[in-house]
Amino acid sequence: MVFAKLVKGLFSRQPKTQAPPPSLMFRGQKITPGSEETVLDALLGAGFPIPNSCHAGACQSCVLVTDQSALVTLPIASREPLTEAEQAQGMFLACCAKLTAPINVYLPSEKQHPSHQAKVEAIEPLNGNVVRLSLTTGFDYQPGQFINMGITNQQGHWQRSYSLASVPGLDEHLELQVKVIEGGEFSHWLQQSPVGQIVTLEGPHGHCFLTEEHLESKHLLLIGIGTGLAPLWGIVRRALLQNYSGSLHLIVAAREPEGLYLIDELQQLAQQNPQLHLSLLVQEAGPSGPWQQADIYEFVRSLDIDFSRAALFLAGSENFVQKMKKTAFMKGCPMRNINADAFIKS
């Protein structure tokens, strides 16, 4: 009896009229797509010049971003063509997305990221001009992503992008490896003994991080110059932690031996993990050590691996990243497998 009442009650609550069609928010404007319209149709119809071409999920011109929680409400066809890392960033193809629920939509370059407070725990030199910054904070990130660190002091406010070198669950603190440039803002800040200070971190950003599809590749090739080691230091340890079973190459280069850092830790990691091949390269001859003098592009070109089955992670200056991308691509590495974190000078 009670049950029957309950069932009746449930049925009587069924809406008599159809729910209004879900709408999307874009640049502060509410847009309601027609019943057969995709997100792309609706945005173009509203006059927003979203890049597009094939309208069928093939060309991937129309990548947009939504909030992670809203992504699952979009059709699989709008997510599947993208890499796992892109999907993890909330990316989808607007041309294949018909709404089932209201969502916020952003161009990838316009998505705002949350800000976090972080306490500076320690600062220690790693070589003549690179320092390790250890921070306490509490947000989720992937090794290889980057954050924007903002600092406000008497001189004003400044913000810089730094890669995350730590691995959640493995390292106690969030770790940055920063090259100190004399006369730069960061250098000034260091002189004020900032241990204990609170800084603002905005992010995490970027999709240069390890996903399941990378772990299935035959080779993982991590190549960095200078503090390009920072994201790779996180990625290599994450790969080992996830028992990556292919061959793992970490190639770290600097102009001269003094530019290398974390040498002992890297060597120790290679000793403990036989599948890890470590190569330390220097461009200019100098004192001898565990490094070799080589042109990094030539070195990578001559590697005896199947590039068509390799996943690559590149980090360093923009120029280096572009050139290495091309080197690896011409050796047969699929473009989809090349992940890069280019440091833009600021």
Binding site: N52, S53, A58, C59, S61, Q322, F329, I338, A340
Partner: protein, 129 residues
């Protein structure tokens, strides 16, 4: 009779579908882009472009040229190339890379011809004529 229908349907299938749709286009773009970058007549045009962006644009172009879904208007193609002062020779080099790609993918000649016809149809947009 059914055989007849089947045959007709096969003929109507685009190169895009025959290759395996969107998922297969990535591999085709990789081959095509490598050929373009290896060709001294045109590789310098790509020295300073972002490779991932360029790859995405080529994916849109190949999808269209292979008879796949597209909303090609010519406007973006014209905009992207007009400052480059391109000539017939440059266009020919890209067309060669396209034919080479299709040959490598073992696409039959009749289908290659169909793709070339579509590619040639964008020539005026590329050369800004």
């Amino acid at each position: 009779m059914f055989g007849l229908f089947k045959k007709k349907k096969d003929v109507e299938k685009s190169v895009f579908e025959k290759l395996g749709g969107a998922a297969a286009i990535d591999a085709a773009v990789d081959i095509f882009y490598r050929k373009v970058l290896a060709d001294d007549r045109i590789s310098h045009f790509f020295d300073s472009v972002d490779m991932a962006n360029q790859h995405a644009k080529q994916k849109a172009f190949l999808t269209m040229a292979f008879g796949g879904p597209n909303a090609y208007t010519g406007k973006d193609m014209r905009e992207a190339h007009k400052h480059l002062s391109l000539t017939e020779e440059h266009f020919g080099a890209v067309a060669e890379a396209l034919v080479g790609t299709l040959q490598e993918l073992k696409v039959p000649q009749a289908d290659i011809d169909a793709v070339v016809t579509i590619a040639v149809s964008v020539k005026d947009d590329v050369l800004n004529r």
